[in-house]
């Protein structure tokens, strides 16, 4: 079966229902859908195990922070690839910053282990069921999750760099 955005989306919606899959769009040739955290684990398992789709390669995973969006403040993006059909798909899950809990994918993909540790390290996502959810790139004593937008890059107390000179 040739995979197109229409038939992949159709298959996913008919399996998981319209209430669980929404906001499908195609920003750069990759089908992008949004789902909720109750569905995400089953969805990725379904994409991996379905005989027709075989979307069974977890390319990457990363967190994104949108401050001021309320219930959609934190986002976790999964990108999967079907090496059989050369078809990519992107799945997003939004959640409030106060409750960044996600199910782990380590039981489906061995590679999810460090990707999830990275997302925890930088954004503070808590993956339930992860075997070893500790910081991976930053020091263990760090008390915050540095990729969140409220942590500025530069030392804000410096006076020798004036923002207007640098177009900021």
């Amino acid at each position: 079966m040739e995979l197109t955005h229409e038939n992949v989306l159709g298959k996913i919606i008919s399996t998981f229902g319209e209430e669980n899959i929404w906001d499908a769009f195609n920003p750069d040739g990759i089908l992008t859908i949004t789902t909720n955290r109750e569905t995400i684990h089953d969805l990725i398992k379904y994409l991996r195990d379905d005989k027709e789709l075989q979307i069974s390669f977890l390319t990457t995973m990363c967190g994104i922070h949108f401050p001021g969006q309320g219930d959609k403040e934190l986002c976790l993006m999964y990108q999967l690839h079907s090496l059989r059909h050369n078809y990519r798909i992107r799945i997003k899950v939004f959640m409030p910053a106060s409750d960044p809990v996600m199910p782990t994918m380590t039981d489906l993909y061995a590679t999810a282990n460090w990707m999830e540790r990275e997302a925890f390290d930088f954004y503070g996502f808590k993956f339930t069921g992860h075997p070893n959810l500790t910081r991976i790139l930053n020091i263990e004593e760090m008390e915050y999750h540095p990729m969140l937008k409220q942590y500025p890059l530069e030392d804000q107390t410096r006076e020798d760099k004036i923002n207007t000179y640098f177009g900021r």
């Binding site: 390319t59 090496l83 991976i136």
Partner: protein, 414 residues
């Protein structure tokens, strides 16, 4: 007093073992060995705390992040053109691939089409980078198994590749090569001559290197069956590039999702069967020949035309025009000060890096900087399989496995 200290140390060690789930086998007298962070045999800053039973590795705990420089965070504050130097410092053995992968990502966001000539020049530079990357990996593998000669011999060729980089962009290691929209200058006659010379000289060198290593009894004994991984496990671990192909999966971004005119060239994708150190060596060896083939085709068929796209908002005008023409001055100022806003969008672009699929996931909210830029770094993703690959093997094999995986610390930690 001395005894007290000793007890305290022991408990600390036991504490560590407990925290990391390293089993304590009283009857087997295991040793805990700290390999790294700056061990001369690991070629980079990696720490592995090994649990050893004599020479056999029972368990390993890798620690990474020693050269983490927060590139993803820094990128959120920089105008697009200032991010290229960050990408140099990821896989510093093949910096041009990273540069151009990033440029192509931004071009995809901006909707810029690059002229054929620029695409071919990019292909030449990327394949030169791939050769220099594989050449380091394979010759270091020789060093780790006791053969220093091959390394010194081919290192000279890497210098020649760096000379070509220098002629094309002015830098050798961290190249910052090309611009968003193409190359910053055309290939000079001297650069063309150097590429021609390289194409004539290098095959002989590489054939000699192969002759020395490939059927070498000592080398084969040291590498065959060492650090093997099955195709299934490799895919589950997210392997890409030569390491995945050594396990028998013919996934190559250049063929599956051609970019920068790779569809114009004829080349083959070598695959291995067992996924062990020897297969990885052979796959890289063959890929060097294929890269040479691509360079040859691109060099012979180099199209005429411009070496950059017509994108004045993003591509710096020539410096002499800045002093004489008003438009050029304005564009120059706006680009250098980072005043140009990019369109809103979300793109993913991946290139076949030296070690696998190097992906850039870019979200733009319409500002002067990326809203989020995520690097899919192949080294980071496959290094987590290292523990599984060395378990049950010997310490000397673990060193060889690490070099044959070609884990680059800069790309691992970003």
């Amino acid at each position: 007093m001395a005894t007290e200290n000793k007890t305290a140390e022991l408990t600390e060690l036991e504490q560590f073992r407990k925290e990391h789930g390293l089993a304590i086998h009283e009857e087997r007298q295991l040793t805990t060995l700290n390999l790294g962070p700056t061990h001369p045999a690991t070629h980079g800053i990696f720490q592995n705390i090994l649990q050893m039973d004599g020479e056999i590795i029972v368990d390993a705990v890798p620690t990474i992040g020693y050269i983490h420089r927060a590139f993803e965070k820094i990128a959120e504050r920089r105008p697009f053109y200032q991010i290229t130097p960050l990408t140099d410092r990821m896989n510093y053995c093949s910096a041009p691939i990273n540069n151009m992968g990033y440029h192509m990502t931004v071009e995809k966001l901006l909707g810029i089409t690059v002229p054929k000539r620029a695409q071919y020049i990019r292909v030449i530079m990327m394949e030169l980078a791939r050769i220099s990357d594989h050449l380091i990996c394979n010759s270091i593998l020789g060093v780790d198994s006791g053969a220093f000669t091959g390394f010194l011999y081919v290192m000279q060729e890497r210098e020649h590749i760096y000379d070509i980089y220098e002629e094309v962009c002015g830098a050798r290691l961290t190249t910052n090569m090309g611009r968003i929209g193409g190359m910053e200058r055309d290939l000079s006659p001297k650069a063309l001559h150097m590429i021609d010379e390289f194409l004539k000289r290098f095959p002989k060198v590489w054939a000699e290197f192969e002759k020395m290593m490939t059927r070498n009894r000592i080398f084969m004994d040291r590498t065959t069956g060492v650090g093997a991984i099955s195709a299934e496990r490799a895919l589950s671990y997210g392997f890409t590039g030569p390491n995945l192909r050594a396990a028998g999966v013919d996934y190559d971004v250049r063929v599956m999702n051609p970019y920068s005119s790779y569809e114009d060239f004829e080349f083959e994708i070598p695959v291995g069967s067992k996924g062990d150190t020897y297969d990885r060596f052979l796959v890289r060896n063959e890929e060097v020949w294929q890269s040479l083939k691509i360079i040859e085709q691109a060099y012979k068929n180099l199209p005429e035309g411009s070496y950059h796209a017509d994108a004045p908002h993003y591509y710096l005008p020539p410096k002499q025009a800045v002093y004489t023409s008003m438009e050029a001055l304005i564009y120059h100022f706006k680009i250098v000060m980072g005043e140009t806003d990019a369109p809103v969008g979300e793109v993913y672009h991946s290139v076949e890096g030296g070690n696998g699929e190097l992906g850039f996931y870019l979200i733009s909210d319409g500002g002067r900087t990326p809203y989020r830029l995520h690097f899919r770094r192949p080294c980071f993703i496959y290094y987590q399989a290292y523990t599984e690959m060395i378990k049950g093997g010997q310490l000397a094999d673990a060193i060889l496995t690490l070099s044959s995986l070609n884990v680059i610390a800069g790309e691992l930690d970003a």
